[in-house]
Symmetry: C2
Subunit: 340 residues, 2 copies
């Protein structure tokens, strides 16, 4: 390893002071054009890079954002919900566009989070992303608020707490999908996914679903709502339970694509044809949804926009600007699993 040059080395070669080097490299208007060019040329020649630890320490900000992705304790090591992977991609790009670096950390919902990125000055703020039981999650949110941590999160609005959220209009998405199924003449709907405060996003989708039913004078049958978390396995188990219960239904609303895909597998194992016997829809539009057989009708959440909004909101928060919770629209993606 060669020894790295410092700003003093550049100053010496350029025949100016170290202060001037520092200014020149940050394109300060205080510095003479000619001087600036000379300094920058020498810096480039020596492959000099500003030491971030020193500059961060001095200026007291890190130009870094931390992303905490928390996972449900039920998930194994192998597979993170593809929807969150897609979010991760868009957040990474959004950060980079804003000149921020991104620290990524995966955490188990059940453990204590080591969310000390901001406390240790490694990051200027935190983005929270993940899934799992909301009631567990809520406790951690309260801790973060008490510590005055600057953060934004993906998810449904939490009205009781002063938290900036970015989320989708889950209610409307649930409404749209159900309406589409009703138009295609399906009448007896099952809903697979938790419909309670344990999972506010799923709950909103369920409420939208129910509203579409009542608006169309269809019954809401409580026995056809089965709890499930957002995994293929959980959807599969719930659908098996539903089928074996003997209650009749001609459509399944999976609260997420993963749940819908698991439910689809259960139907096929029981020789129930999709969509001829039973239609099925999901939510998220993960990449897999295009590859199932039949392909899955779903509500798309725009992850690119979501990533940008999360990063923008956090940066505003950091700068002390006014920010508010935002709700994004979902869009209906019609494929083959619902007979149209």
């Amino acid at each position: 390893m060669k020894v790295k040059p410092t700003s003093f080395d550049i100053a010496y070669r350029a025949g100016v002071s170290q202060s001037t080097v520092s200014r020149a490299l940050r394109n300060s208007p205080l510095v003479n054009e000619e001087t600036r060019l000379k300094v920058q040329a020498i810096a480039k020649e020596l492959n000099y890079k500003v030491d971030k630890n020193a500059s961060n320490l001095r200026s007291q900000h890190s130009a870094t954002i931390a992303l905490l992705l928390f996972e449900d304790p039920t998930s194994d090591d192998s597979l993170i919900n593809p929807f969150f992977m897609s979010m991760l991609g868009s957040i990474t790009r959004a950060c980079s566009n804003q000149g921020y670096d991104l620290l990524v950390s995966f955490q188990q919902m059940k453990n204590d989070w080591h969310a000390d990125f901001e406390d240790t000055n490694k990051a200027d703020g935190i983005i929270l992303l993940g899934y799992g039981d909301f009631l567990d999650y809520e406790e951690k949110l309260i801790q973060l608020i008490e510590q005055d941590t600057r953060f934004v999160r993906w998810g449904a609005d939490v009205k009781e707490l002063p938290i900036i959220s970015v989320g989708c209009n889950n209610f409307h998405g649930g409404y749209q999908l159900t309406e589409h199924l009703i138009k295609n003449n399906y009448k007896k709907f099952a809903f697979i996914g938790s419909a309670s405060r344990h999972s506010p996003e799923f709950f909103d989708r369920y409420l939208g679903h129910c509203k579409a039913l009542t608006d169309n004078k269809l019954n809401i049958d409580k026995v056809l709502q089965i709890d499930a978390v957002s995994t293929e396995e959980s959807g599969h188990i719930a659908a098996c339970k539903l089928i074996e219960s003997g209650h009749s239904f001609d459509a399944i609303f999976g609260a997420s694509d993963l749940i819908a895909i698991g439910a689809m597998r259960a139907l096929q194992e029981h020789d129930i044809k999709v969509p001829e016997d039973v239609a099925i829809v999901g939510f998220d539009d993960i990449p897999m949804a295009s590859f199932t057989f039949p392909t899955l009708t779903t509500a798309r959440q725009n992850t690119t926009l979501a990533g940008e909004l999360l990063v923008d909101s956090l940066l505003k928060l950091i700068k002390g600007e006014e920010v508010s919770t935002t709700l994004m629209p979902t869009s209906l993606v019609i494929r083959k699993s619902c007979g149209s």
Copy 2:
């Protein structure tokens, strides 16, 4: 925002010097048990956290690793190869297990990389992950070597350059898959994927594929090898070209799962039945491979192990220990797309 306490605040309250606080918090054996406990209790009470910028600056290492994920210019914003997403997950976990933070950056292959994480002391070393044309990639690798950057990469061994790689035995994987197809009585093989130095991993798979053919006294038909990059779209285009060429074949080896999935779609669009008319296999075992219809036979690369090996190798490199390139085995995952 409350003002963050410093080590001097802790020292004052504990009635010791600031040096002692610093030692106590890092569990230095130099410090008295009782003193240490007192200091740690006070630190906890004040929610004091060591400022990483200051400690990194002073000790000249950052306990941070940077992950550069470079993408092929052909890919759009929406979808990163799921295989690399899975690697990202396992690397994140492996870093965290070793007490390192992870900076993540996505970069376009065609652009200049801003791979200055190490130069700016933000990271102690870099992990390279990605796909794209190897000949473009190679140039960047040479730059990194010239700058004395410490890095390891995922991929096939580069014999000409002093680079630590972690990769799979692509040759053997290609051999296994082909052998399996041959046992199932398929005889005329197409291979979709680049088979040249532009893509060394695919090339190794192709060579393994060819070896299995010659070992079983089957012909290698050059017109049945069609170039493709690792996307569903590229696999689809190549398979259409293959089908429309009129050459006969009864099995397709997709150089990656994404390619195989695209090829499968092309076959189905042409009313060619999988696996009755044409068998198909992929490579990687991405999550989607379990959900295609029919499900895809493939060679699994163990991403959990890969992530651990990458992180371990890089940490050894950073510590100046001896490291060498490693080759992991692949395992055959037999599903429904190849008639068995």
